[in-house]
Amino acid sequence: MKYLDEYRDPAAVARLAEAIRRVVRRPWTLMEICGGQTHTILKSGLPDLLPPEITLLHGPGCPVCVTPVELIDRAIAIAARPEVIFTSFGDMLRVPGTARSLFSAKAEGADVRIVYSPLDAVKLARANPDRQVVFFAVGFETTAPANAMAVWQAAREGLRNFSVLVAHVLVPPAIEAILSAADCRVNGFLAAGHVCTVMGYQEYEPIAVRYRVPIVVTGFEPVDLLEGIRMVVEQLESGRATVENQYSRSVRREGNRPAQQRITEVFEVANRKWRGIGEIPQSGLRLREAYRAFDAESKFALGSIQSAEAGECIAGLILQGKRKPYECAAFGLRCTPESPLGAPMVSSEGACAAYFAYARR
């Protein structure tokens, strides 16, 4: 398939793997930010091709994994209301809340529907004026423009039966949180290509300087990842620490300006809690005052909901690259995709799910 086959080409992969072997002298630990990249790495068996000096850690870039348990409990409470059609990307439905998931709420009678775009949720609201349509607005900067667009469009049409439950998070503050931890072992980052397609990479430049860490904006196919790894390793071996762009077929330094404008029109930066990690200042988005009427949390009086996390899951350590999934005592035994202890085992971008599906030994 055009635009894909050339990035999965075995000959190109072999050349890049050889180039990495030639340039690497010392052990380096790299972190890929995005869960989509983690899955490509494991699905294509990339670790088999890398020299032993290189360790890959898997970052926090799984939006489903970092959505706080309180918010999932709130989603379930909203979905359970008879007037509500609760819409979401499929991935969110299996993520465990305190007692159950959106899928089990559906089994108990809640009207929960999978949509492929937030604009489909707006369409549903238009078609069902007597119901309240709620969209679970989850994701990093990648999904923010479409979610902002949905709210903007609903506002323009005066749709009063549409709202969003916002759980948006931002990559750069998470990178800073990882780098400023005392026990951080990450030497270089593969930044998430799709996030940067929207946002560009100017905001990563001060991070590279401040923490003296190479950051390479990287795509999602095997050739992209190997090339990104090669570029980071070359910087590390030559003592440089700058932002470079491997994914130039999609990413420009300034990003997609119209998409950014739509985001800033609808959302503002706010503190966010990350599941398993805790609150990171200025690391998320919330609706601006002018769009508060579309905020599902204020629209539905939910009262207080008691949320709780269980003990055994180490998702916080996994999401920060401090442990590998197989280093968890519950992995594959008490924690499987059918009965997950934590979100990284459920999500299609979760590191534990990737190891369970592709790399169980």
């Binding site: 059918e338 202890l341 790399a359």
Partner: protein, 345 residues
């Protein structure tokens, strides 16, 4: 930074849609609820259908229910699916399909024209597969209690395989053959259900599969196992076989046929075609020395024109299916966990 993390054990005490997905949850339901209740040798073979001996004759017997939504999709409808699905389960037992029953659960308000179209399609599918529909049942449920119509079919066939067919007969050294490109049925159904449009039309692969199986038998090939690649797709079917045989499997990703339009749609939707349902595709396990002949025989039939040898049975990955990726890395190809698409057959 606070590092406590997620979530209590989800002790699911209700049926979820994923229990019907054909993957690991379906298997849990079978192993924890159905098997303990009904345990007997024919059931425990855990094949697509049961083989029972009646007065010295080996009969294959199977049943399947069809709840596909929408009722009509590119390349087929619930009617031909209901005939082909049961015919194929018999064929996978190495049995010539003889006769079927059909049970209709109709929703109040269903246009009779819709029923006529479905029944006509069943008539044509039965004629094509060489089976008779010999008995049936009709029930009507209140409006809103059924999705237009559900169909159950059961079928009887007579075993013509000369050797036992099933996971237990699979041997290291066997070649694994898939009868054509995978993933088209599931994507075709999803495309109409979700109103997705692709540049190239993707058409369901629904088809009866006794003819190719019979052709393999007639050539005297030693077929060790057959499995149609329905819910859970190629990956799940091969895992089911791997779990029941004393060996493992190695596949070459680059050899597995997937139509370009299907792989494009899967890329867009985030699906893996190896887990997408098929309704007219099967995997055959034959000794490596007979693989070339088997491919020649299959490729001569239009329904198997795209047949390909995709891997082999090996001793070293016991119980596991390992896939060598296009770029040369190895990974486990696991059974489908929950579901990729709800209700596609």
């Amino acid at each position: 930074m606070n590092l406590v993390c997620p979530t209590p054990f989800l002790n699911e005490e209700r049926v979820l849609l994923a229990h019907g997905g054909g993957g690991r949850l379906t298997h849990q339901l079978i192993e924890r609820i159905f098997l303990p209740a009904f345990r007997n040798p024919a059931l425990e073979a855990m094949h697509d259908g049961a083989v029972v001996e009646v007065n010295g004759a080996q009969l294959a017997f199977t049943t399947d229910s069809y709840v596909v939504r929408p009722l009509f999709f590119p390349g087929g409808d619930i009617g031909d699916l209901a005939v082909n699905g049961t015919v194929n389960d018999l064929a996978m037992c190495g049995a010539r399909p003889l006769c079927l029953s059909a049970g209709f659960i109709l929703e109040e308000g269903l246009p009779l024209e819709t029923l006529r179209r479905v029944v006509d399609s069943m008539r044509r599918a039965a004629a094509c597969a060489g089976v008779s529909l010999v008995t049936g049942d009709t029930k009507v449920v209140d409006k809103g209690k059924g999705d237009g119509m559900f169909i159950n079919t059961a079928g009887i066939g007579v075993v013509e395989a000369l050797h036992p067919i099933g996971p237990a007969a699979v041997q290291p050294g066997d070649a694994i053959i898939v009868s054509g490109p995978v993933g088209a049925h599931g994507v075709a159904v999803l495309s109409v259900r979700e109103g997705l449009e692709f540049e190239a039309a993707i058409v369901s692969d629904t088809a009866p599969l006794w003819a190719p199986v019979e052709a393999l038998f007639k050539a005297g090939l030693e077929v060790h196992c057959l499995r149609d690649l329905t819910r859970g797709g190629l990956a799940t079917s091969l895992n089911e076989i791997a779990a029941g045989c004393p060996a493992g499997m190695r596949l070459e990703e680059a050899l597995i046929p997937v139509e370009e339009a299907v792989s494009g749609a899967c890329e867009m939707l985030g699906l893996d075609p190896l887990y997408v349902a098929n309704e007219g595709r099967f995997a055959a396990f034959v000794p490596a020395a007979q693989a070339g002949q088997a491919l020649e025989i299959l490729r001569a039939l239009p329904v198997c024109a795209g047949a390909a040898r995709i891997g082999e049975v090996v001793e070293d990955t016991r119980g596991r299916v390992v896939l060598r990726s296009r770029i040369g890395g190895n990974r486990v190809l696991d059974m489908l966990s929950g579901e990729q698409l709800p209700r596609i057959c």
